[in-house]
């Protein structure tokens, strides 16, 4: 009997181990594998709703089936996304250049490079040193480690306009801490690593809601709100977000520990052992110095990228190049990064499909139709319904910015026209635009780095993501709404 809600399962990283030939499959699995095809065909041949075009509707059919197949464990995400992209191009639903656009998307590339650079941090020994340092300070319990990570993220967040880059900074540390504590993705020790990975991933979502400058989609949403008649600056944002966001950050490691117990409780001897081992490591090696220097320069490039007109992904590419040039990472290391290639494939395909659904107007259509159908509700009911809808719809998005561009203005308009006070509606949507990213592993590009670590299965990621999003929703609605109403009067 597992103490948490998640069933124990052999970790599969990105995918469960595929069985061999079809004839070897059990009846249950056959039905499971047939279900996504049935869903796709059912939606595909359903009459196209008025106001949509056939390509948009057909793309939705394939996209929904691909996501459903992963949720019911019929196929690994890679299999589902490869079948999906093949289907939509061969049927002429979208053009090849649209279907493959994710492979050249800067956010997707940043995830991939950040993942490889993280391996360099581990390989050079720097990761082990950092992890021993962290365990020596906070390693008395798994909870202490989780808090040290999410609080570090919350503190550095306002300096990072890209939460994907911030994920790239945190991931090597979290990976090193997990490995340093003996947690491996391929056996039962994975629970500590999985716990830390998910706390970090969800922590990024809340820290992005805490500060106006913690993610690139926040300033875009602020511009939309300005056109509606409300000016929001850095201080006003922090005042409104501080109470619900800090509460969410404080509760996050506790809630995740209940849902996905790390199976490592108090370890009072660990800090002393880590200090001893750290002393035994001696002075930093050449590789560690190079990695630390390169990493710090990358961090500086990510922080000051906007002011210096530096592309975030280019900074990562240059860091990667320097590590290759100086021999910290070798070509042999790259050839072993099969998981990274798998992640690149499925992320690029899902990213492009979601973007095309958006460009074809499907997302806007769903949002407008749902929001427009809420007339006649009291403002309080309307407010809560709009926020819940806005969060749930993120299930179909692979980018936070895309949803902000497509739906933020629509939901804000409907809410304020229905009598919801503008500051209340605005801040609820602003915060949701950050915390909803954890609802699916692909709900924000920063998630992918942690999701692809192999410590959590896809099903666990979806389950934990759904429950934690619900918890965030409750915190921001129940605690955040009265607070915003009070301070913004």
């Amino acid at each position: 009997m597992t103490p948490g809600l998640i069933d124990p399962k052999v970790p599969d990283g990105v995918a469960p181990k595929p069985p061999g030939l079809i004839r070897e499959l059990g009846t249950g699995l056959r039905i499971k594998r047939a279900a996504p095809f049935a869903l796709a065909l059912a939606i595909w041949f359903f009459p196209v709703p008025a106001g949509l075009t056939a390509p948009a509707w057909h793309l939705f059919a394939v996209f929904a089936a691909a996501i459903a197949s992963v949720l019911i464990n019929a196929f690994p995400l890679l299999t589902a996304s490869m079948l999906a992209v093949g289907a939509i191009v061969l049927t002429g639903t979208i053009k090849p250049e649209q279907a493959y656009s994710g492979f050249a998307n800067s956010s997707v590339l940043l995830v991939v490079i950040a993942f490889i650079v993280a391996q360099a941090v581990v390989k050079s020994g720097l990761g082990r040193r950092v992890s021993l340092f962290m365990v020596s300070r906070f390693g008395g319990s798994s909870l202490g480690l989780a808090y040290s990570i999410v609080l570090t993220d919350a503190v550095i967040a306002p300096a990072f306009p890209s939460n994907t880059a911030r994920g790239g900074v945190l991931f090597p540390i979290v990976l090193s801490v997990a490995q340093g504590a003996g947690s491996k993705p391929e056996d039962e020790t994975r629970y500590l690593g999985g716990y830390l990975m998910f706390c970090s991933m969800a922590g990024l979502a809340v820290s992005s809601a805490l500060w106006m400058t913690a993610t690139s989609c926040n300033p875009i949403a602020v511009q939309i709100i300005k056109q509606a008649g409300l000016d929001i600056d850095f201080a006003k944002w922090f005042l409104a977000s501080a109470v619900p966001s800090l509460l969410a950050i404080l509760l996050l490691p506790l809630i995740v520990a209940k849902l996905f117990p790390p199976r490592v409780g108090k370890t009072p001897e660990a800090p002393a052992a880590a200090r001893k081992e750290l002393a035994g490591m001696g002075r930093m090696s050449r590789e560690e110095w190079i990695t630390a220097g390169t990493f710090l320069l990358m961090v500086a490039g990510w922080i000051f990228g906007n002011q210096l007109h530096l592309n975030t992904t280019s900074v990562a590419f240059m860091g990667f190049g320097v590590l290759l040039f100086l021999g910290v990472i070798t070509l042999d290391d790259i050839t072993k990064q099969g998981d990274t290639l798998v992640t690149f494939f499925w992320l690029a395909v899902l990213f492009a499909m979601s973007a095309q659904l958006n460009e074809m107007g499907f997302m806007g259509y769903v949002g407008q139709r749902l929001a427009a159908g809420l007339g006649g509700l009291s403002w309080m009911t309307l407010y809560m319904t709009l926020v819940v809808l806005y969060v749930v719809i993120h299930y179909m998005f692979v980018s936070q910015t895309s949803q902000v561009l497509a739906l933020f203005g629509v939901f804000l308009d409907v809410g304020t026209k229905g009598g919801v006070p503008l500051p209340l509606m605005a801040f609820a949507l602003l915060f949701a635009s950050s915390y909803f990213s954890v609802i699916t592993p692909q709900g924000g590009s920063q998630n992918i780095i942690f999701a692809a670590s192999g410590y959590l299965t896809q099903r666990e990621l979806y389950k934990l993501g759904g429950i934690i999003t619900l918890a965030f929703l409750a915190i921001y609605l129940v605690v955040g709404s009265p607070w915003v109403y009070f301070v913004m009067r």
């Binding site: 509707w57 459903a68 690139s216 511009q223 159908g373 299930y395 910015t401």
Partner: protein
């Protein structure tokens, strides 16, 4: 309910996509019909400086247009706009609306396209299928939203209102 979020999302999407009652503009040929609506478009904008404060930009936006009112030509359309904006001379554009059957409405757009006056006037030129022969006009105010990280922009049509004269009913005697 292990897959509750996905199910909820599918239910919501299906509910939103439920078949709405369609109007048939051809059935009332001869009279003018009023409609209102909303439109959100996503796409790209490329801008060049033309000296001083003057800017020129080309835009390409696609999005979902939902219409209301008894005279609406359809429940909704996928609308695509391509246009050239010169802050010195104004905005010129063309728009294609496509419905769920693939029938289309074509229109031209023009306006001052400045921050002070962003009202756009559209003239419906013609259509295909059930919109063949349709003419009319519409107006809206244009709101721009800042560009996203990947260069995407959003345009919003505010206070979209229009009037159409449906084309002749197929098979009806010409007058």
């Amino acid at each position: 309910m292990r897959h509750a979020p996905l199910l909820l999302c599918l239910v919501l999407a299906t509910a939103a996509c439920g078949q709405a009652k369609e109007s048939s503009p051809g059935a009332t040929a001869g009279g003018s019909l009023d409609f209102q609506g909303s439109w959100n478009g996503l796409g790209s904008r490329h801008t060049i400086a033309l000296g001083g404060d003057r800017l020129g930009s080309i835009v390409n936006l696609k999005g979902s247009m939902l219409l209301a009112g008894s005279g609406r030509p359809g429940v909704g359309f996928q609308s695509e706009v391509i246009g050239l904006n010169d802050s010195g001379t104004g905005f010129q554009g063309r728009s294609v609306w496509t419905d769920e059957h693939g029938d289309q409405v074509f229109s031209s757009l023009q306006g001052e396209g400045t921050a002070a006056n962003n009202r756009i006037d559209g003239t419906i030129l013609s259509g295909t299928g059930r919109y063949a022969g349709m003419t009319g006009s519409y107006q809206f105010s244009w709101q721009w939203v800042m560009e996203g990280e990947d260069g995407a922009v959003q345009g919003r049509a505010v206070d979209l209102r229009g009037r159409i004269q449906p084309g002749p009913v197929p098979g009806a005697p010409s007058r």
